[in-house]
C-alpha cells in the first residue's frame, strides 16, 4: 500500500514536470517563429497604428524614442501639467489626482497606485509614460516608452513645463502659458507695490507633524510664485541657502527666529491625514518662540491651505499667485 502511494505521487509529479517542460519548449519554438517582435514588448495599441512618427527625447536615462502624437499617457505626478497643455492622461497617481485645481478635468483618469503598479499601467495600455520616480523603470519601459523627469531636475518650474511640452510636442502651448503668467506676475507686482516696504522679507514655512521647515524658490509651496514671480525677498539666512543650492531646511525651534521673515506664509501638514492640520498651527502659535516673532506680533502671518500651496503646475501657480497677493494686500500698513 505504502509503496504504491509513494510511486503514484512521484509519477504524478514527474509527469506534471514533463508536461510543463514540453509546453515551455514548444512555446519557445513558436515564439522564435512568430513574425511580430515577440519579446519587444510593446503593447498592441502602439504608436505605429496611429502615427508613424516618433521623436527622440533626451532624458536622464539616455535617449528615449517617444510617439509624436501620444494618445494614452500615463504619469505619476505631472498630471496637471499635461492637462494645462491640453492633453488628458489616462492614468496618474493618487497624489496628483488630489490637486484641488483640476478636479473638474480628471474625470475618468485612473489611479495607478503608489508605488506604481506596473500591472495597472499595463492594463491601461499607454503609448507614453512620463514619471518623476525611476521605480521599476525597466518594467515600465517594456510597456511603453518611458521618460523620467526627476523632481526639480529641469532647473525651475518653467523648465519642467517646457520639458513636458517638448515630449508631447506642445512647445507653443507652454510658451504661451509662460508668457501669460509672466504678464499676470507683472500685474501682481504692481498690485502689491503700495503695500510693501523696501527690504521687507517674506518666508515660506511648513509645520509638518510638529517639525518646522522653510522653503526656497524652487521647491513648491508657492516658492516660485513668491520669489520669482512676485520678486519678493526671502529672509537673509534663507537667501544664503538658496544661493548654495539648498531648497529646504528643517528648523529647530531655536533656529526659527533667525529664519523668520517679516511676512510669513505658513502651511500645515499632517502626514496621517495627508492634508492640512488646523489644530497644529493654533498649538504652535501659542508657544513662546512663535509668539515672540515679529511677524506674529504684526499679524503678518498667513495661514495657507497645504493642498492649495503644495502643487506646482500651471493651474496651481496661477491660483497661488492670486492667493498670495490677496494676503499681502489684505494687510494695510
Amino acid at each position: 500500500m505504502k509503496l504504491n502511494k509513494k510511486r503514484l505521487l512521484l509519477n504524478l509529479f514527474l509527469f506534471g514536470l514533463m508536461v510543463i517542460m514540453a509546453a515551455c519548449s514548444s512555446g519557445a519554438a513558436e515564439n522564435s517563429q512568430q513574425e511580430s517582435p515577440g519579446n519587444e514588448q510593446k503593447t498592441e495599441q502602439t504608436a505605429e497604428e496611429t502615427a508613424s512618427e516618433t521623436r527622440v527625447i533626451e532624458t536622464v536615462k539616455g535617449d528615449v524614442e517617444v510617439p509624436a502624437n501620444p494618445q494614452r499617457i500615463i504619469t505619476d505626478l505631472y498630471l496637471a501639467d499635461f492637462i494645462a497643455l491640453g492633453v488628458k492622461p489616462v492614468g496618474a497617481n493618487e497624489w496628483a489626482l488630489r490637486n484641488p485645481f483640476i478636479q473638474e478635468q480628471i474625470d475618468g483618469i485612473e489611479d495607478i497606485g503608489a508605488p506604481i503598479s506596473v500591472e495597472k499601467v499595463l492594463q491601461l495600455q499607454p503609448d507614453l509614460i512620463v514619471v518623476q520616480s525611476d521605480e521599476n523603470y525597466e518594467k515600465l519601459s517594456q510597456i511603453a516608452p518611458t521618460v523620467v523627469i526627476p523632481y526639480a531636475s529641469e532647473g525651475d518650474f518653467y523648465g519642467e513645463l517646457r520639458k513636458i511640452a517638448e515630449i508631447i510636442g506642445k512647445e507653443k502651448e507652454a510658451e504661451d502659458w509662460i508668457a501669460s503668467f509672466e504678464e499676470k506676475a507683472a500685474q501682481a507686482r504692481k498690485q502689491i507695490e503700495p503695500h510693501i516696504e523696501e527690504g521687507e522679507t517674506f518666508g515660506i514655512y511648513e509645520i509638518a507633524d510638529e517639525k518646522v521647515y522653510i522653503f526656497g524658490d524652487n521647491w513648491g509651496r508657492g516658492g516660485h510664485v513668491l520669489y520669482r514671480a512676485l520678486k519678493l525677498n526671502p529672509p537673509a539666512m534663507m537667501q544664503e541657502l538658496i544661493s548654495q543650492g539648498t531648497q529646504w531646511k528643517e528648523l529647530s525651534l531655536e533656529a526659527l527666529p533667525e529664519y523668520a521673515a517679516d511676512h510669513m506664509f505658513i502651511t500645515t501638514y499632517n502626514s496621517q491625514s495627508k492634508g492640512p492640520d488646523q489644530e497644529l498651527f493654533k498649538k504652535m502659535k501659542s508657544s513662546a518662540v512663535w509668539s515672540n516673532l515679529e511677524a506674529i506680533k504684526n499679524d503678518q502671518v498667513y495661514l495657507m491651505n497645504f493642498l492649495h500651496m503644495y502643487y506646482a503646475d500651471p493651474f496651481s501657480l496661477e491660483e497661488q499667485l492670486d492667493l498670495m497677493v490677496e494676503k499681502i494686500i489684505g494687510v494695510e500698513k
Binding site: A23, G27, A29, N31, V118, E119, L122, S133, Q142, V148
Partner: protein, 336 residues
C-alpha cells in the same frame, strides 16, 4: 513507528510541493489584470498576446520565483539559528542580520544620493551585493564581540540583540540625513518588498539557495548533535566551535541573499522552522527540508496577499508576513 514517520515525511513533502505549485498558479492568475485560466495557459505556452506575455513572464513570475527562493532561504537560515542557539525563538532578524543588511542598503542609497542617473544597472547588482555584505559584516561583528575562548549560544544571542539595537539606531540616524527621494527608496526596501523583482535577482539568488540549502541538509548530522548541547557534542567528538562557525556562515549567507533581493522580512525565519518542527520533529534531515518548503509557501502567499489586498497599490510583503505571523505567535504564547 519509524515507517509511519517516513510516510508522513514523504507525504508532507508532496503536499507542500503541491500547495506551492497551486499557489504559484493562483498567484500567476491574480492581480490588477485578470486573465482567464485559458488565457493564462495560452500565454504560458507562448501563444498569448505580447502584453500578457509581459505580464506573466516579466512582471509576475520573477517575483513569485523570488518569493519561493527567498522564503526557503530565510526559513532554513532561521532553522540553523534556532538549532545553534538552542533557542526556538531565534531568527536571523532578531540578532541583527536584517538590520545589518538594511544599514548597508541605506548607506548605499545615501552615498549615491539616490541619484537617478546611471545607477539602475549597477544598482540592480550593487544593491543586493550591499545588503549581502551588510549581513556578513554584521555576523562577523556579532561573532567577534561574542568571542570568549569560543562562542556560547547565549552570548551569541545577547550580542546579536545588542548589535541589533545599535544598528537600528544607526539606521535611523542615516535615514534622517537623507533627502526625500532617497528616503522613500530606502523605506520601500526596508519594509520588505518584492515588487522590484526581476530575473537578474533570480539569477543571483538561485545559486545561493540551490548550493547552500542542500549543503545544510548534508550538515544535518552535525546539527542533530549540536542540538544536544555543547558538552555532549564535544563528548561525542564534534568540533563544536568550527562547526558552529561554518553553520553561522551558511545561515548568514542564506539570510543575506534573501534579504538582499526581497528587502527586510523578519519573522519568517522564526515561524517556518517552528511550524516545521511541530509537523515533522527535530530531526534535521527532514526538518530542514520541510522548513524550506514552508518558508517558500509562506512567502509566496504573503506576496500574493500583498499584491491583491489593496489593488492597485501594494502592501509590502514584510508587513504581510508580520501580520500573518503575529496571530500564530499569540496562539503559541497562549498555549504555553
Amino acid at each position: 513507528m519509524m515507517e509511519e514517520r517516513r510516510l508522513r515525511f514523504k507525504t508532507q513533502i508532496a503536499v507542500f510541493i503541491a500547495l506551492i505549485i497551486a499557489t504559484f498558479f493562483v498567484s500567476l492568475n491574480t492581480g490588477v489584470i485578470q486573465l482567464s485560466p485559458a488565457e493564462t495557459i495560452r500565454t504560458l505556452l507562448g501563444k498569448g498576446t505580447d502584453a500578457n506575455h509581459l505580464l506573466l513572464f516579466e512582471f509576475r513570475m520573477p517575483r513569485m520565483v523570488l518569493s519561493i527562493l527567498a522564503g526557503a532561504a530565510l526559513a532554513v537560515s532561521g532553522a540553523i539559528f534556532q538549532t545553534i542557539t538552542r533557542n526556538e525563538l531565534a531568527d536571523p532578524g532578531i540578532i541583527g542580520i536584517n538590520v545589518g543588511a538594511s544599514v548597508a542598503i541605506v548607506s548605499f542609497i545615501f552615498l549615491t544620493g539616490g541619484t537617478v542617473e546611471s545607477l539602475t544597472l549597477t544598482s540592480k547588482v550593487l544593491l543586493p551585493l550591499a545588503a549581502f555584505a551588510g549581513a556578513m559584516t554584521t555576523a562577523l561583528l556579532i561573532y567577534m564581540f561574542a568571542w570568549n575562548r569560543g562562542v556560547s549560544p547565549l552570548r551569541l544571542v545577547l550580542v546579536g540583540v545588542a548589535l541589533n539595537a545599535i544598528l537600528s539606531a544607526l539606521l535611523i540616524v542615516i535615514q534622517l540625513q537623507m533627502e526625500a527621494n532617497s528616503f522613500m527608496k530606502a523605506l520601500v526596501w526596508l519594509s520588505g518588498s518584492i515588487w522590484a523583482a526581476n530575473w537578474d535577482y533570480v539569477t543571483i539568488t538561485v545559486p545561493a539557495v540551490f548550493l547552500i540549502i542542500p549543503f545544510v541538509i548534508y550538515k544535518s548530522r552535525y546539527l542533530n548533535v549540536l542540538h544536544l548541547g555543547d558538552q555532549l557534542s564535544t563528548g561525542l567528538g564534534l568540533h563544536v566551535e568550527r562547526e558552529r562557525q561554518i553553520l553561522i556562515i551558511l545561515a548568514v549567507a542564506l539570510a543575506g541573499s534573501a534579504v538582499a533581493v526581497s528587502g527586510n522580512i523578519t519573522f519568517l525565519g522564526l515561524i517556518a522552522p517552528h511550524i516545521a518542527r511541530k509537523l515533522i520533529g527535530p530531526q534535521h534531515e527532514r526538518f530542514m527540508l520541510i522548513s524550506a518548503l514552508i518558508g517558500a509557501l509562506f512567502l509566496l502567499l504573503a506576496d500574493l496577499i500583498g499584491r491583491v489586498i489593496i489593488m492597485p497599490s501594494e502592501l509590502p510583503v514584510g508587513l504581510v508576513v508580520a501580520c500573518l505571523g503575529a496571530p500564530y505567535f499569540l496562539y503559541l504564547l497562549m498555549k504555553s
